[in-house]
Symmetry: C2
Subunit: 532 residues, 2 copies
Amino acid sequence: MQQNSLSHWAWGHARNFPDRQTRQQLGQMIEALLGFSPQEVKDPVPLENVQLSPLRDPPGKPPSCITIKPEDRVRHSYGRSYLDQLRGFSGDFNAAPDLVAYPQNEQQLEEVLSWADSHQVTVVPFGGGTSVVGGVEGPRETSNYLMSLDLTGLNKVLEVDLESRLARIQAGIKGPHLEEQLREHGLSLRHYPQSFEFSTLGGWIATRAGGHFATLYTHIDQLVASIRSISPQGWIDTRPLPASGAGPSPDSLLLGSEGILGVISEATVRLRPRPNYRASATVHFERLEQAVEAARTIAQSGLHPTNCRILDAKEAAFNGVSQDGKTLLLLGFEAKDRPLDSFLAQAMNIAEKEGGECPKGPRYRHPQESQDGAAAWKSAFIQAPYLQPQLISLGVMADTFETCVSWRTFPKLHQALMEGMKAKMRELTGAGKMTCRFTHVYHDGPAPYYTFLCPVRPGQEQELWWELKNTASELLLEYGATITHHHAVGRTHGPYYRRQVPQLFQKMLQAAKDTVDPQGILNPGVLLDGRS
Amino acid sequence: MQQNSLSHWAWGHARNFPDRQTRQQLGQMIEALLGFSPQEVKDPVPLENVQLSPLRDPPGKPPSCITIKPEDRVRHSYGRSYLDQLRGFSGDFNAAPDLVAYPQNEQQLEEVLSWADSHQVTVVPFGGGTSVVGGVEGPRETSNYLMSLDLTGLNKVLEVDLESRLARIQAGIKGPHLEEQLREHGLSLRHYPQSFEFSTLGGWIATRAGGHFATLYTHIDQLVASIRSISPQGWIDTRPLPASGAGPSPDSLLLGSEGILGVISEATVRLRPRPNYRASATVHFERLEQAVEAARTIAQSGLHPTNCRILDAKEAAFNGVSQDGKTLLLLGFEAKDRPLDSFLAQAMNIAEKEGGECPKGPRYRHPQESQDGAAAWKSAFIQAPYLQPQLISLGVMADTFETCVSWRTFPKLHQALMEGMKAKMRELTGAGKMTCRFTHVYHDGPAPYYTFLCPVRPGQEQELWWELKNTASELLLEYGATITHHHAVGRTHGPYYRRQVPQLFQKMLQAAKDTVDPQGILNPGVLLDGRS
C-alpha cells in the first residue's frame, strides 16, 4: 500500500480536498461565474465510517499476495468518475471487491491468475484507479468472488535501448516513476494524460490513453512497440518491431482491450529525448468557427504541432487562461535540437489568415492572458480533476465527455451537443453551462472535449447524470462520432460502444476472448456484454 | 476482362517482356556485372499452349457474373512471385481456380459469396494479382471448388469530403484510376507501392501495403479511416473516424487480414493535396554504417522526410543511380504550400555530421549520379519488377525479401543476412550477389530490403529458391525481425509468420475467423494453417 496519501474517494491526493470554508468560497465563485446557487456544503464520509460490501472468505488457498483488508477493498472499489466520487463521498462502497491482489512479479501474477481461474474468481485489473468510465469496477450481475488485481507492484524499467530509443517497462509503473527512471538515460516517453501522476503504463495501453501530443503521437498506441500480457490460457508476448505488415497487428488487439483479453504485465515503448527547443503562442479569435478553420488548416498542413488546442471563450475563462470572451488557439512545437520559430510562424500565419489575433514579440504572450496561455492552461489542466469532488460537496454536477469526428461533421455535432445539453440541463435543473475545447487534431477531424456544469438536488445526482450522459451519447452516435476518443469504454460507455462498433466485430472480439479466457473471469461486462 | 494488355504469366504489361535478342543482351550485361553466366535464353509457353487444371462444372446455380473461361482461369492462377512467374513461364497452370467471379456491384458480391458459402466453394479475393507471397493462389489440400473473386469491377470513387479530405472508394479500384478520379478534386491518396499501376485499394488494405512515404504514412494503415467488408455472416462496416479510443480498433483487425475475415468492398481513405513544393538530395557515404547512422538520426529528428532511402553501393550501381562505389542516402521532402529547403538543409546537416558528402548548389544533384538520384531511383524502382521474368528466361534467379527491425539489431542482422545468403548461394550455385536498401525508416528501426541474384540450373529453381528463402527467413526470425514489412504473409511466409506471432494471438484470430466464416471458405491456408 503506497496510496495512503491518496483520497479514498476523491481524485488524487487527500490533501488537495480543501476544508469546508475554502469550499464555501468556491461555492460563491461558482454562483458568480455560473449564475446558479450551489447547495449547502457537505463533508465526505470518512474512511473509517464507510459502508462496505460484506466480507466473504475466499475459496481454496489464495496466493499470499492477496488481501481482504477493508481499506484495500475500499481503495479498489471505484475509479474516479462523477458517479464513483459521488458514491465514495457518501460512503457507499457496496461495490467493493472481495479481495485485492498485489503481485510483485510475474510469477506471483501467474499464481494469482491461475488461482482465480480455477475458482472462477472475477479479475478486474487495477492500475492507477483513475478510470472515469467504470473500467475498474466489477460486475454486479454475478455472485462470483470479485478480485481487484493491483499491478502497481510491477513497476520497473527493465531495459533501455538507447540506439533504438526503446525501453522495456513493467506495466504497473506510474507516470512520474516511469519518467524518473528514464531520465537517467536522457530519454522520456512524453505521454502525459491528465491522470499522469497516478495512472500506469498498463492502464494507458489497456484503455488507449491520450497524451499531450496534439498530433501524430496522440495516443499511447503510437508509442507501443510490443506488449506482454497474461491470460488464463497463457502468455501473449508480441515482438517489438518498428513496424510490420505480417497480418493484423497483435498489439492493436490488445490496445484498448480493457482487461478482457489478458492482464498487461510489460510493454516495450518508444522514447524520445527531452525537448531543448520550444515555441508556443496563443491566438485569439472572435468566433469559434474561425479557430476551428485555423486548427483544421494547421492539422492538414504537415507542420505537426505538439500543441494545437482550442479553448472556447467559456473554457478559457473558467480555467483562468483568458477573460476577453474570445476563442483561444494554443499552438506549441517542441524538438530536441532544432529551433522551431519558423514552424510556429507558419502556424500563426495560417491562424492569422482565418482572422486570428496573433501575439507579437519574442515571448508570444498575449496581453489579455493571465500569464503565458499554454502554461496557464497546463496548470488548470492538472488541477481540473480536483474540482469535481469539491463541487460534489457543494451539490454541483461537473463532468466531461469527449469524442472525435470529421471536420465536415464537427459544426453540426457541436451545435447539436451545445443546444441539446443546455436544453436538457435547463429542463431538469433550471440552469447549466457547457464549454468546449479541442484536445487533439487530425488530418480528417478534431477531438472535441466538453465540460458541463449544473446544480443538482441531493438524491437526484445519479438519475440526472445518466439523463445528461445519455443525451450526449445519443448525439455522438447519431452524428457518426466515436463514444470516446481517449476516456475508454468501461461499463459506462458499454451500451453506446456496442451500438457504435460493427456487431460482427463484437462477435469476433468475444470469440477471441473466449479463446484466451474460456471461463470469462477477465473484466466481464467491460466492452462486451457477455458470452456470444 | 480489361487485362488483355497484361502478360498472362509475367509482371505487368505483356509488351514489356522483350524479344529474345534483347534478353540475350541482358544476359551479357548480367555476366559483366555479376560475374556469372546465364543459361541459354528460353521463351515462355504462350497462353494458348499452357497446361490448365481440368475443368469442373460448378455446383448449384452459380451467379451470372461467374465464368469458367480458360483464359480467365489462367489469369487468376497466380500472383507475381518468382515461383509464380517460373510456373507461368513454363506453362504450368495446374493451380488455376475452377471459376472466376466478376461482381460489378455489392449486390453481385453478396450473391457470389452466398452461393460460395452454400456450396463450400473456396473463395480467394483477387485485386491486381500482384502478390509476391502466394496470397492469391488457392489451397491444394482440399477438393473444394476454388473460386477467384476478382474485385476490379468495384472501381468507383463514391464520395469526396473536401473539408475532411476523405474519400469513400470501392476496393477494386487500381492505383492510376483512383488517382485519376481524385485529381478532379485536387486531392491525392499519395500511396505508391511498387505495384501501384496494377494493384487495388482493397489489396493494399488486405495486405497492409507499403507506400512511398518513408516516414509517418508508411503503410496504407495510416491512410484508412474506415473499411466495409463482407463475410459469409454478413457485412462489417466500421465508422470513419479520425481516431478513436473505443476498444481495440476494428480496422486494425481487417488491415492485413488477407481475405480470411472477409472481402473488402469499400474504404474511406485520407487524402492530401498534390505537393507544390519539393526538396530532395542524394548524399554519398564511404560506408553503409555511416549512412545508417545518418538515417537513424534523421528518423529520430522529427523532420519526417517523405523520402529517406538508403541504397548500398551495389544497389545504386545495379539500378543505374550511381557508380562511385558509395552508399547513397536519398532524401526528399514534399508539401503543398511551404518551401522545404530548410528541412532538407537540416537533414543534410545531420548526414554531413555522419561523414556524408552532400551535394552543393540549388539542384542538389551529385556530379557522380547518372541524373538526379531520386528520379533515377524512381525510374529503376518502377522497372525493377519487369526484370525478374526476363532473368527467369535466362536461368537467373533474382528475388527480394524485406523486413523491419530495431536500429540496435540491424547491424547484426544485416551481417548475418549478407554472409548467410552469399554463402548459401555460393554453396548451391557457385555464385551470387546481394544488395540492400532501406525502404522506410522509423524512430526505432529501419525497414531493410534485400535483393539476391544467382545462376540456377533448369529444373532446380524451386528447390534452390526455397533453400534461399528459408535461409533468409530463419535469420529474420532468429534476430527478432518481422517476416515481412510490407510484402504480406500469403502462403509463402505462412510457416514463418506462425512462428513469429504469439500462438494465442493466432488462436484468437482463428476464433475470429470461425465466427464470420464458419465453413472456412475465405482464403484458407493464408496467415493461419487451418481450423483451431
